[in-house]
Amino acid sequence: MNKIEAAQLADLALGSVFLATGGGGDPHIPQLIAEQAIEKYGPVTVIQPQDVADDALVVSIGGVGAPTVSLELLPSIDETSRTLSAFEAHIGRQVDAVASFEIGGGNSLIPLVAAVGKGIPVIDGDGMGRALPEAQMMSYAIAGIKPTPAVACDYAGNQCAFTTSSTEVYERHIRSFAMAAGGMITAAEHPMSGAELKRSIIPGTLSFSIELGRTLRENRGQVGQLLEPLKQVFEKSIYGECRLIYQGKVIDKATRIVGGYDIGEATIQNFDGQGENLNLSIKNEYLLARVGEAVVASVPDLIVIVDYETGTPINAERLRYGHRVAVFAIGCPDFYRSEEALRVVAPRCFGFDLDYIPLEQL
């Protein structure tokens, strides 16, 4: 694939909600803005990471803030390309390609808008391969890429440039700017060379998300008929194994906001009320699944909840009591199983007192 057309965006959005593992926000509005951008500027050129010149300049771009706010404070078509221009002016160099922070949710689509607006390609890949709650969990950060120099713009074109000592400080500062600017901003950050990109990106996730979305759409319906096609599409990807770990209805869900994150638990019971319940731990995303005491899947592997009737992924904000669901677990890309990655994304990093055991060994 080397072009993305407007007609593929619905599949991309659907695939991205699946990969968001419960977080990431609703991609509906990012999809609309991307459709309009492609209509205005033409299809998106996609480039594989290995085809990027080692000395090229790549920057990751996306929305930062509260997805709930952008339900009212809508993005505009030139906001991302304006941000990119501001970034170029700040560092005094042209950007050759853009990449996504995270493929899970609306930020899978925002780089496409920037790319067509500026007439540059978008990289087939992202910095997470899923959705994760914190910036230091991005593959770029794990591979040692600094988040700054970075530039962020709000809806009205107000700008802020960042040079910070660490990813954690950057995260804190950019979130305060987002809050002050009405809850949602666009940021161009993690500038990197082509050589750095190749060792830090989770490759192929943009085209994979489109393929995943198509699989979900073509097999829409009860989970039983979705499982086989889903297994096949994951098996030949960087993810690998896909398992159906539970089916039932949500009998309890309680989350609360702590430090800006939606933290809590959900309990799912078998349809017939027999056997042990599935307990899910949530921090924006679904992070840990246990049946009784036994762990059946944990972060950084993917845990995904879909509507039992249609196979449509359900994010954690919308999951509620009475929902009839199926729960899938999928192996994460190898990058996230390295020692460096597990130092920031293992279950202990989320406060769970247990070691990470890859899905295939559970």
């Binding site: 509260a66 706010v69 078509i77 809806y155 989350t255 800006g260 349809f271």
Partner: protein, 516 residues
């Protein structure tokens, strides 16, 4: 005495209630002009009940007219859709994601203006007088009289919507205007969509309400008239002239509310068995459990709440195969009376199974006398299993729950169901929709995004409740009887701690104020 009427696509059902007692009920065909179908139903009803029109204090109507107009792209008026939110949202104008055919049917104009608010109360931008004046000139030049106005965060601060509406009204005095904050919920695109659909229906709403009132007047019914909304509450007929979109999907709600009325069970599973499907819903405190998924009406995303319904392919016309081991989802539907075995046709249906098993005496039972006993018992077991599994999936917890069977097909399941603590088969289950329409409560709903750091929780809930109360009173509720039935607080991720969406729903008894 009250009359409940359900004007469906094919049938017009009506009931007379005296308090909670059903005095009479009837089913007539819906006529093309609506009026004669209603007058026919009223004639039968008043005759059967043996009452005069003066004895009727209120009439409640449930109708699918407005939903059908949207779905079928007819009776829609041209309009202007104005969004106040620039510089945000530039490039995604109103109706951008709508299906082509409905955009063409409406053939409206869109305008985007600077203004609107942020979550924290700061303006997105100030209103610009010159921009508004130019837009109004354009409205006048194009003879546009129906106007939908939406603004960013208007459920929290409607000032910009109201201000632009006042200017439009001053320049075009007979303009019909819908403001998006009247449609509550946060989510600008969905709220705007609801507002635009509502505006497109305004002239049709005048005609529909007029024809309802005419039909009633023909039979000397001069009492107040109310129309049911999607959440199972009522609005006055005058209110519907302004808010026709609030009637969307009131059908399934009325069926659930009717089941509640027929049994008095506040918490139960309701199974409405029709010709092709069984629709399974849940009653919580006497109201339908709401679905949490985004609702499309005629292909347009909206923010309306709809009952959580699961449809399974089991109805009175479902086709039986494999010696009774497979039922549906194919159905002969309304052709049952030609194609079913007991009616001389050659398709084995669930109704034939019922008759062969001695469960009912319909058609000619001799035509199914030769059915193998094994087929009949297989099919009976299969139907019970299908329903049981569906009920099990909809039940909120693992424990037993009462199940109410309504709809024409409810006779299909004669025995007990393991998933049910008890099965109820109320009399008059066939006209549950009309009974549901005849309930006597008025609702109101409001939602805002608040910071509990700045506004203490109790104050915030009180403010939102006041807004909901005002909506209920405007819709015809008696102020003294209003109570909050649902308070939903959703914390917002990635924001200040304490940032919360608060939604309050209130219900009150029907006021004495005349509705017609």
């Amino acid at each position: 005495m009250r009359i409940g009427i359900d004007v469906g696509g094919t049938h017009t059902d009506a009931v007379v209630l005296n308090g909670d007692d059903i005095i009479a009920s009837t089913k007539a065909l819906t006529s093309a002009d609506v009026v004669s179908g209603i007058t026919d139903a009223l004639d039968t009803l008043l005759h059967d009940a043996g009452i005069s029109s003066e004895q009727v204090q209120t009439v409640m109507i449930g109708t699918t007219q407005f939903t059908n107009a949207i779905v079928e792209r007819r009776e829609l008026s041209t309009l202007a859709a104005i969004r106040i939110g620039l510089p945000s949202g530039e490039g995604i104008p109103p109706m951008v994601a709508w299906p082509r055919d409905i955009v063409e049917a409406i053939n409206g104009k869109t305008y985007m203006l600077h203004g609107g608010f942020l979550y924290n109360g700061w303006p997105v931008a100030e209103l610009q007088t010159a921009e508004i004046d130019a837009m109004i000139k354009d409205l006048q030049a194009n003879n546009i009289e129906n106007v939908a106005i939406s603004a960013a965060f208007s459920p929290m601060n409607a000032a910009h919507e109201v201000s632009v509406a006042e200017k439009v009204k001053a320049a075009i005095p007979h303009a019909r205007i819908s403001l998006s904050h009247s449609f509550g919920r946060l989510g600008l695109m969905e709220r705007e969509n609801a507002t635009i659909m509502n505006t497109a229906l305004l002239p049709f709403a005048e005609r529909v309400v007029d024809s309802f009132l005419k039909a009633l007047k023909n039979r000397a019914l001069n009492c107040p008239v109310y129309i049911s909304q999607n959440d199972g509450t009522l609005m006055s007929s005058e209110f519907v002239r302004t808010y026709p979109a609030l009637t969307f999907a009131s059908g399934p709600t009325n069926s659930l509310r009717g089941a509640y009325k027929l049994t008095g069970l506040e918490d139960a599973i309701v199974v409405d068995i029709g010709g092709t499907t069984s629709d399974i819903g849940v009653l919580q405190s006497g109201f339908p459990r709401e679905s949490n998924v985004v609702v499309n009406i005629g292909g347009v995303r909206t923010n309306f709440r709809m009952p959580d319904i699961m449809a399974i392919g089991l109805g009175g016309g479902s086709i039986v195969k494999d010696e009774g081991r497979t039922i549906g989802p194919q159905s002969v539907g309304h052709r049952l009376v030609q194609e079913g075995l007991i009616f001389g046709g050659d398709t084995l249906t669930t109704t034939d199974i019922l008759v062969a098993g001695g469960g009912a005496n319909i058609g000619d039972p001799r035509l199914v006398a030769d059915l193998p006993e094994q087929t009949v018992s297989n099919a009976q077991a299969c139907m019970a299993t299908m329903l049981d599994r569906g009920i099990e999936m909809m039940k909120p917890g693992g424990q037993g729950m009462p199940v109410i069977l309504v709809g024409g097909g409810s006779i299909l399941v004669p025995g007990d169901l393991p998933a049910a603590s008890q099965v109820y088969r109320p009399e008059n289950a066939g006209v549950a929709n009309a009974i549901g329409a005849a309930i006597a409560q008025i609702g109101g709903e409001a939602e805002q995004m608040v910071s509990y750091r700045e506004t203490p929780r109790e104050d915030a809930i009180r403010l939102v409740t006041q807004a909901a109360n005002k909506r209920a009173i405007d819709a015809g509720a008696d102020r003294a009887t209003i109570r909050a039935v649902d308070i939903e607080e959703t914390a917002i991720p990635y924001m200040d701690e304490g940032a919360t969406r608060v939604r309050v729903k209130v219900i009150g008894e029907l006021g004495s104020r005349a509705g017609a």
